[in-house]
Symmetry: C2
Amino acid sequence: MHHSGLLTLLSLLSVIDGAYCGKILVFPVDGSHWINMEILIVELHSRGHELTVIRGSNCWRIKEESPYYTSLTFDIGKFDDEFFNGFIVNLLQIRREKRYFWDQDMLGLDILKIISNYHQEVCNMTAMIFDNETLMNFFQDAKYDLMLTDPSFGGGVLLAHRLGLPLVFNVRWTVHGEGHFDIAPSPLSYIPVPGAELTDKMTFLQRVKNVLIYTVTVHQQSKYFGEPYRAFCHKYFGPEVDYFSLFQDADIWLMRNDFTFEFPRPTMPNVVYMGGFQCKPSKPLPKHLDDFVQSSGEHGVIIMSLGTVFGNLLSDVAEEIAAAFAQLPQKVIWRYTGTRPANLGNNTLLVDWMPQNDLLGHPKTKVFVAHGGTNGVQEAIYHGVPIVGLPLAFDQPDNLSRMRKKGTAVIVDFAELDRTVFLEALKEVLYNPFYSENMKTLSRLHRDQPMKPLDHAIFWIEYVMRNGGAPHLRTQSFRMSWFTYHSVDVILTLLGAVLVILWLTFSLIKCLCCMLIQKKIKRE
Amino acid sequence: MHHSGLLTLLSLLSVIDGAYCGKILVFPVDGSHWINMEILIVELHSRGHELTVIRGSNCWRIKEESPYYTSLTFDIGKFDDEFFNGFIVNLLQIRREKRYFWDQDMLGLDILKIISNYHQEVCNMTAMIFDNETLMNFFQDAKYDLMLTDPSFGGGVLLAHRLGLPLVFNVRWTVHGEGHFDIAPSPLSYIPVPGAELTDKMTFLQRVKNVLIYTVTVHQQSKYFGEPYRAFCHKYFGPEVDYFSLFQDADIWLMRNDFTFEFPRPTMPNVVYMGGFQCKPSKPLPKHLDDFVQSSGEHGVIIMSLGTVFGNLLSDVAEEIAAAFAQLPQKVIWRYTGTRPANLGNNTLLVDWMPQNDLLGHPKTKVFVAHGGTNGVQEAIYHGVPIVGLPLAFDQPDNLSRMRKKGTAVIVDFAELDRTVFLEALKEVLYNPFYSENMKTLSRLHRDQPMKPLDHAIFWIEYVMRNGGAPHLRTQSFRMSWFTYHSVDVILTLLGAVLVILWLTFSLIKCLCCMLIQKKIKRE
């Protein structure tokens, strides 16, 4: 047994030793996406690769100076933060008041336009790079081995095509939606589209809803998000280059996902699942937190965080949540930056920030109250902590509906949240072992992999550098029109042939009959 | 770097150490399929698992006594060897005389019936097991953790269903054809069906051929191969159990394949590619062979083997091959059990058997003349030796057309083979570096994996034992009718709705027009 493990190690080391320390061009996306990209960058840097990061002039999280990379900064129009914050407040109000979906859709249209503008800004910035001959020469001379990018914005894809670089995605979303929908067959009969909040077991009406939402979002995203890239490709690459196929043609898709999180679905040879690559064992807590956690005794601790964007809840909701917490014997650590709720019990500690990973990994932690962002859900799976979910926007409802289907979460509707409902949900997850047992199983399955997700991701990045791409893992399908791909021409031809044969047979029989009748008539 | 490799080793070892030494029931297939299965069995045994092998009373290769497993032998009707050998001779003659496809098809129909009979025999043997209450109690009491089976015959699938055991396939073919077609979306526009000898880049006419062959084979295989299992399921499991979905429901599919061999195509989360798991570094040659090989000097060596079944060629073909070899400066080692050809040059050594793996791995070996069986092609890829292909039957033409597309083989048509054609092909592969360079690249890609294929396979077998299956990797699609799977009901409903709306709108407009006209008339 150990012998074979050792052989694996040796083969691994030989691969690592033989690795060319490469030059990687990174075109990341700001915000929470950067947190994930930075983990890859730090790891790649530690393995001796040289990284250059392209960033916009007004980045929020991507620092200009770093020990891990050299950065190149370009002017870019600002992402409209103010509008975005207003949007969040609006969204929470609409969700809270359970207004008609019409209101949500109008708000959705507003945000579509804002994001569309930002896609345009990214294209403008990329055009600036393309038009700067000195810079393009510099890129050519630097002889990069690879473009590593997050395709939820397309600048990296465009630049990689221009520079002829192999392309690796750090991806869950592309410009057009969930990554799988770009490249893998996705039967809508059991694959819920993002935003549908459905599972892989759907009733007839749910399947109708799924198809309708798919049709609408494909149209919207092509119109609002695809347009800037379409225009860009037409200008810089000519009319024969389809921007969508540039995305589909990436060498390796490192998916921030796996099948303990996602529903099982068709996939492709060049999709590598690295879900949970950001997770790590917990470290000991700082003294004051540890004391608080230990004071919970046998009851244990509840931790609550709704991420950075939703840290500041509507005050009436915060009051209801505080009141529910106050009725429990557990201790509560709540990351909350709004006004201190009047109902706050003395079992509840409000914090501006918490070491979420270390708390989730603490044996006293019983429940995680979360909005359902991807990172938080992945960490909950990794540490095996069941969830009370308060989904607010974006992919959160979908992420949490996956957890509910797997029996690892109870979801509280934001519109119906009051102290009773919330307390009910907390008690259910605290005292019904169903949820924690399921989450522990999921955690065990998630950790039971031949290789750690981060090592797996790095292997494939280095693989693409070693081999100058991975063309043998990319299918022919993206060089085909939908007409050809679905064999529509063949089916029509075969149907035509059958019809012609039927018609000929019929005509022949008719002819024969006529002849027979005529003969009969003549004879008579 | 090494640090991270060590971490991977430690995580591997912890998984291995924690492994439960399990009990595995194996339902193998005889012949060349057993060679592959035995490799898994030996490895599983070395890791401490206990194996029980179910075998028929007249097995050719599966021995009753083994240090690696306990066997259970059951009476089974004999596979008609005599007919089979006659079939092979017939087939070679038909291929040689390039007779119309009609002859081939008639012969194909004969072999379909023979194989169909053997499927019936396997079902009879399985029924014997099912009807033996003592035996079934023994199986139940033994508490196996897993059924490992080769699904080209279905006995293991049926028994696993009855015993409620998790199911792992060692598979390239199932009862119904190539394994992927059973479970993964397989667009016929770029996935060539077995027997079509096409690639993943097809012209319109080739795509028509592909769809036609698919339609015919699906029908044939369901009729000739599926029928015995359908009847068996109906009798033992009741009408609601569909035998096909029992196959689709396997936990893990260990595919004897990878994408250096196969064209890239959609796949599923529970498909694990272990292509080349049987390959190993070459050992030194026996003295007399080594002397012969070394005597080739700078010219190097050609090795030729057409496998066990085709060892004995038609004598006129053998003469042409011998004459071609005689004109080359290379040394030739030819595994041939027929009469010694008169044209044999003194550079050619005839052998009954050869250490094929050790010869393929020898640096002096320049070309491999092969019939294109899966194992031989995998070994050629592993060792990076280009191929002159003489495809004769079964999957050989398809295997070799894959190699030709990848620029690693020249194929000689059996009907057109004479000394000139064969010599031409040999010289092309010997002296045009294109083939050996492509094969060396393929070899490098094949070996560049995070884990050795055999270790990968064993990991997933043990995974299924540790976790009692892998339900989270199996999609919902197999619980659906094709009607639902392809959303036909939803599409028809939505089309209906659109038509109704159009009709209503039209009627309304018509009504309004009528009213307007009537008003006008009245006014006038």
